[in-house]
């Protein structure tokens, strides 16, 4: 099996939004919406400060509450890779999945269905990196298979300290941030 994941190096990320705009053009994300976003977390008091900048998106959780709450099966786990996807013509727009996601990663597309990051599965299946990964000017994003110990993502996670977002929410997120 394979388990797709992203590993993002916060030491390199400069919060430039390139990943956001690349996602918008690649996936035709409508004006006013975004599938990925930037979070800046600042600790300390001037001038002794620390800042972590993160590019965030759906975590393609291993234990995705958005899937388990979906009444129609529109939200589902796509194999191989464990990518969480929404089948547009199964979605009724009940928004349970929006409420179920602790990361607020989903939104209602103007056409009515729930939408979010797809891990660019249409690219991944053609052997490409997701658009945001392939555009990032700082090369801080890595995409790959956690089940393959040789993959870049596995090796990075083995060799560098990292954290995921809201592990306490129990969703088992699959995006990891190197620190």
């Amino acid at each position: 099996m394979s388990r797709f994941a992203m590993v993002i190096d916060t030491r390199r990320c400069v919060g430039c939004y390139d990943c956001v705009v690349a996602c918008k053009t690649e996936n035709g994300v409508p004006e006013g919406y975004s599938r990925d976003w930037i979070t800046e977390e600042v600790h300390g008091a001037f001038p002794t400060l620390q800042m972590e900048i993160r590019s965030e998106r759906c975590n393609h959780c291993d234990n995705p509450p958005c899937v388990s709450c979906c009444p129609t099966g529109a939200s589902h786990v796509h194999e191989p890779g464990g990518v969480v996807l929404v089948t547009h013509d199964k979605c009724i727009g009940c928004k349970a999945c929006l409420a179920a996601c602790p990361y607020n990663a989903r939104f209602i597309h103007p056409d009515g269905y729930a939408d979010k990051c797809t891990f660019c599965i249409h690219r991944v299946e053609r052997g490409l990196d997701p658009a945001c990964v392939s555009v990032c000017p700082t090369h801080c994003m890595h995409f790959g298979d956690l089940d393959d110990p040789q993959s870049e993502v596995s090796q990075l996670l083995n060799s560098r300290p990292h954290h995921a977002l809201l592990p306490e929410a129990g969703t088992k997120p699959c995006i990891f941030y190197l620190t």
Binding site: V20, I38, V42, P65, C69, C70, G93, N104, E168, A169
Partner: protein, 350 residues
């Protein structure tokens, strides 16, 4: 790490940012109506079994209640439909059953509610609304068919009770399973909404009894407000047997509801910082005023007092407790749906 100083999030997805508000008035109304219908079903089921074909006083519970339940259920489903953003695909609910999804359970339970309620209503319909029975004699035949089979009556009663419990709990579980919103993270939401549903149902039936009682026992303000309605039903005197039972039952439901609500909040307050923060939204945060005034004081405590006085025959039975309880039930759903969406795992940070 130092305590968080600043968190900047660059995202403006409508309905999601800056705080989640994907569910607006439709969902609390739907949850309220669902709870009410659940309460009506349980009461109707219990009465149907308890009174048996011979006793015919409590028609309000067995017939008017289920009939009203059918209307409320349809209304609730309509309101839910209004909330869907991909309406054309609503049929997709019924091409699948998602075992982990309370909403899927709910959509199928809702389908069971109709026949159960209808059967319950049919059992005593001819006595309850003789005019209708006169126009559609088939109703009498159906009623006779049901009442002549004791086991069927019991089955209908039990079905109503069970489906009712399912429906009532589902309205709470629907929120309770959404772990992303700390305020909703409680298994108690199911029973809480169930008992809240029961209390609103009892109050509604009690209210209907008050409304349909004879002229002299009618409270003046209700007369003023609802004279036309009452005139329609002036023939029937206040059922002195059922009304106190309903008021008493309602008091028990309200007391249990209050207890569950307390447990629910205590549970949060003794849980993680995130959950404490969530409970604080109700207790002292932006929702505190509504919570203390409309949910607790006017929605539970005051009707409890009024109904206790009614039961002690210190005051006459009036519409007031019914209206208060119903209003309190609505307020509870609104406040939990709204505050729940605002509660968040990140909020403990800032």
């Amino acid at each position: 790490m130092n305590p968080l100083t600043e968190l900047t999030l660059s995202r403006h997805n409508p309905l999601v940012d800056p705080t989640l508000h994907v569910w607006q008035w439709q969902i609390p109304i739907y949850l309220f109506l669902g709870g009410l219908v659940a309460g009506l079903m349980i009461i109707a089921g219990v009465r149907l079994i308890a009174i048996r074909p011979t006793q015919r006083e409590a028609l309000v519970c067995c017939t008017i209640g289920p009939l009203a339940g059918l209307v409320f259920l349809s209304l609730g489903m309509f309101v839910l439909f209004l909330d869907l953003s991909h309406k054309l695909y609503v049929w997709r609910l019924y091409t699948t059953f998602q075992i982990t999804s309370p909403m899927s359970w709910g959509s199928w339970i809702l389908l069971l509610v109709y026949p159960a309620l209808a059967a319950n209503a049919l059992a005593h319909l001819p006595e309850a609304i003789p005019a209708l029975a006169k126009r559609f004699p088939v109703l009498i035949a159906w009623s006779d068919f049901i009442l002549s089979r004791t086991r069927l009556v019991v089955a209908i009663g039990i079905a109503n009770v069970l489906v009712g419990i399912g429906l009532g709990i589902y309205t709470g579980i629907l929120l309770g399973t959404l772990g992303a919103r700390p305020l909703w993270n409680s298994a108690l939401l199911g029973p809480l909404f169930l008992f809240s549903g029961l209390s609103t149902a009892a109050a509604l039936l009690h209210g209907i009894l008050v409304l349909t009682s004879s002229g002299e026992e009618l409270p003046a303000f209700a007369d003023f407000l609802l004279s036309s309605l009452t005139r329609l039903a002036q023939a029937r005197p206040l059922d002195q047997k059922v009304a106190p039972v309903l008021a008493g039952a309602d008091n028990s439901f309200l007391t249990i509801e209050l207890g569950l609500l307390s447990l629910f909040l205590i549970g949060h307050l003794t849980s993680t910082a995130v959950h404490q923060q969530a409970a604080t939204l109700l207790l002292s945060g932006p929702y505190a005023a509504v919570f203390w005034i409309f949910v607790i004081s006017l929605g539970i405590v005051l009707p409890l007092i009024l109904q206790t006085l009614e039961l002690q025959n210190s005051i006459r039975h009036t519409l007031a407790p019914a209206l208060l309880v119903i209003f309190g039930g609505i307020a509870l759903r609104f406040i939990l749906v709204y505050a729940g969406q605002q509660s968040h795992w990140f909020h403990a940070l800032n």
